[in-house]
Amino acid sequence: MSADADLPTPLALRARGLGVTIGGTPVLSQVDLDIAEGEWLALLGPNGAGKTTLVRALSGTVRHTGTVALTGTTVRRPRDRARHVAVVPQTPIVPPGISAFEYVLLGRTAHQGLRLSASLDDRRRTLAVLQRLDLERFAARDVPSLSGGERQRVVLARALVADAPTLLLDEPTAALDLGHQFEILELLAELREERGLTVVTTLHDLSVAGQFGDRLAVLHDGRLVAHGTPAAVLTPDAIGRWWGVEATTAVDAEGRVDVTVHRRRASGRPADVAAADAAPGASAEVVARGEGFEPPAA
C-alpha cells in the first residue's frame, strides 16, 4: 500500500477511510485507495470479502463513512458523479421491452436536461458506441432477447456512452464463457487505450486479473490487505493465505502473472512455499509444493 505514496499521474479517484456497515455488521472498514488516471485496477478477494460493496461505495449507491474524491473533487450529486464514473453492475436490471438502442441511450441521462429527453447528439453518440462495439445490428432488438455476450457488450456500451473518464465494472465477465470473457476484457483494454479511460474492475479469476490489471488490490473481510503490481500481489504465499489454495505463479517479461491452481492431495500438508523474486520485468517461476505433487512443466 506504500505504492500509493508517489503515483506518477494525477488521481482519478481517491478513497479515504471507506467503511460500510450493513445491518450492524461491518462489511467494509477503513479502506484507503488511490487510483491513478489511466490505470487498470483489479479488485480481488474471496466471496464476501467486500468487493461489490467497495464498488457500490465508490459509485455512491451505498451509505458509507469516509470520503470518495473524483479527479480531485468530492462529488455528492448523483448527476455529477455519473459524469465522472460510469458503472457496469454485476447483474444489471433490464427493463422489459427495451431495445438495445434505448437501453444504451440511458447512459446519456446525466448529460440531459430537466425532461431527460435525448438530443440528436445523444443519439449520434449512442449510435457511434453501438457501431464501435459491433452492436449496430442489435439496435432495435429487445435487450433480454440477446445472448449473454451481446448483452454484456450492450451494458458496457451504456457505460461508455456516458463519456465518463472512469469505468467501474463489477465482475464484468462473471456470466460469460472463456471466449466471451476475453472478448470483453480485450475490448475493455482497447477502449482504455483509445479513450484514456481509468478502469476499475472486480474480478474473481486471479489469472485474468494478473493478465489485465496494472495494479491489484486484495480485499479480505472488508479490509484492503494487499495493493500493488500483479507480480507483487499474486504470490503463491498470498494466494494460499487469502484464498486457501495451492498455486504456482509465472511472471512474464511485462510483469503479467499467470496463476495455476493445484488440487490439494488428500494427505496434503500445508504448502511449502518458495519465495521468489517477483519484480516486474523479471521472468520467474514460483512453485508451491504440497506433499506428493509434481510441478507442472513450464
Binding site: S59, V87, G107
Partner: protein, 365 residues
C-alpha cells in the same frame, strides 16, 4: 456472436416502432399524440350531442364555435338547447375528460415508479381514505353543507391523510424506504380504513345507499363548480408528470443503477407520487371511486406505444380523458332516464379489456 439468422434485424438505420437512428428523433410520438387529441375531441363531441335530448352535431359544433371570441356562427340552436349544451353537458363532459386524464396519468405514473404493472392510483390508500372521508361526511349528515361541497372536501381530506400516513409508515429511520415498503404500508392503511368504514356503515345502515352510490362513482355536476376545482390540478399534474416521465423511465433499471446514471430515485419517486396522489384525490373527491381506468388505459396505451413512460404518461392522459368521457355517455344513456354509476361501466368494459391486454402481452413475450 451466434444468433439464429432469422432473428437478426437487418443492419443499420433500423426503425421498428423504436425510432432508432439519428436523423429521425421524433418518431411515432407525434401521430400518437394527434390520435389521442383526436380521440378526446371525438369523445367530447359524442358526450355533448348524445343524451335525453339529442342535439344535432353540426349545430352543436356551430354553437361551440360561436362562443369563441371574434367568431359568429349561425347554429340554429334554441335557448333551451343552448342551456343543455353549456350548463349541463359541457361541464360534465369536461369533468369526465379531466377525471379520466387524472386517473389514467396517475395510474401510469404509479406503475412507472413502482415498476409494477398492477399498481393503480388507489394503491397507497387514496380510495380507502376518500371512502372513509365520504362515509364520515354522509353518516354525520355534514355531506350537504357548504352547498354540497363538504362531501368532496371530506373525501379529499381523507385521501390525502391516508397517503400521508402510508408514506410516514414506510419511512425507515426518517428516510424513504424502497417501493415494497410503501406498497405494504398502503395495503395496511387501506385495510385499516376499510375496517373503520365498514364499522361506521354497520352503525348507520340508513346511510348505506348514499355511501354505496358515492363509492361507485358518478360525474353528475353542479354546473361549473367541480370543473373549476379540477382544472388547475389537471394542469399542474400534467406538467409535472410529463416533465418527470423521463426520470421514471430511468427508474426502470432499479434505484441503484438509476443512481449511477445520475438520478435521485427517492426524490423522483416522492415527487411523482405526491403529484399523482394529489391528482387522484382530486378526481376521487369530485367523482367518487371510478375503478379500472388507471389500470386499463395505461396498459392499452403500452400496446400502441411501447413501454417508455415518456410516451405512456402523456398518451394515457389523452386516451384516459376520451375513455372516461365515453364511459359517461354510456352511464347516462344505457338505462336512461336513470343513470348507471360510471364505475359499473368502467369495470364492465375494463375487466374484459384488461384480460385481453394481458393475453396479448403474453402472446408477444
Amino acid at each position: 456472436m451466434s444468433v439464429p439468422a432469422a432473428a437478426v434485424t437487418p443492419s443499420v438505420t433500423v426503425d421498428d416502432r423504436d425510432r432508432v437512428v439519428p436523423p429521425r428523433p421524433r418518431d411515432l410520438t407525434v401521430p400518437l399524440v394527434a390520435a389521442g387529441v383526436g380521440a378526446a375531441v371525438v369523445a367530447a363531441l359524442v358526450g355533448l350531442v348524445v343524451g335525453p335530448v339529442d342535439l344535432p352535431v353540426g349545430a352543436t359544433v356551430g354553437a361551440l364555435l360561436d362562443r369563441l371570441p371574434w367568431t359568429t356562427v349561425e347554429h340554429g340552436l334554441g335557448a333551451s338547447s343552448l342551456t343543455i349544451l353549456f350548463e349541463i353537458r359541457w361541464p360534465r363532459v369536461l369533468l369526465g375528460l379531466a377525471v379520466g386524464a387524472l386517473l389514467s396519468g396517475s395510474g401510469a405514473a404509479y406503475q412507472g415508479v413502482f415498476r409494477n404493472p398492477l399498481a393503480d392510483p388507489y394503491l397507497l390508500g387514496v380510495a380507502a381514505g376518500a371512502g372513509l372521508g365520504a362515509t364520515l361526511a354522509i353518516v354525520t349528515g355534514t355531506a350537504t353543507l357548504a352547498g354540497g361541497f363538504a362531501l368532496p372536501a371530506a373525501a379529499f381530506a381523507g385521501a390525502i391523510a391516508a397517503v400521508v400516513v402510508t408514506a410516514g409508515l414506510s419511512l425507515r429511520r426518517g428516510r424513504p424506504a424502497g417501493p415494497a415498503a410503501l406498497i405494504l404500508a398502503g395495503v395496511a392503511v387501506a385495510a385499516l380504513l376499510a375496517a373503520v368504514q365498514t364499522y361506521l356503515l354497520q352503525r348507520h345502515a340508513d346511510s348505506l345507499r348514499a355511501v354505496y352510490g358515492w363509492l361507485l362513482g358518478r360525474l353528475s355536476t353542479v354546473g361549473w363548480a367541480e370543473v373549476r376545482l379540477v382544472l388547475p390540478v389537471l394542469v399542474v399534474s400534467a406538467v409535472v408528470l410529463v416533465l418527470a416521465s423521463g426520470a421514471i423511465d430511468v427508474l426502470a433499471v432499479g434505484d441503484e443503477e438509476a443512481t449511477t446514471l445520475g438520478i435521485r430515485p427517492g426524490v423522483t419517486r416522492a415527487l411523482v407520487l405526491t403529484v399523482a396522489s394529489l391528482a387522484t384525490a382530486t378526481a376521487v373527491a369530485v367523482s367518487g371511486l371510478i375503478g379500472f381506468v388507471g389500470l386499463i388505459v395505461p396498459h392499452g396505451v403500452r400496446l400502441l406505444a411501447g413501454t417508455r413512460n415518456r410516451r405512456v404518461i402523456p398518451l394515457s392522459m389523452l386516451f384516459g380523458a376520451a375513455f372516461l368521457a365515453l364511459a359517461d355517455v354510456a352511464a347516462r344513456t344505457v338505462q336512461a332516464p336513470a343513470e348507471l354509476p360510471i364505475g359499473v361501466i368502467t369495470a364492465f368494459v375494463g375487466a374484459p379489456a384488461f384480460l385481453l391486454i394481458l393475453r396479448s402481452q403474453q402472446g408477444r413475450a
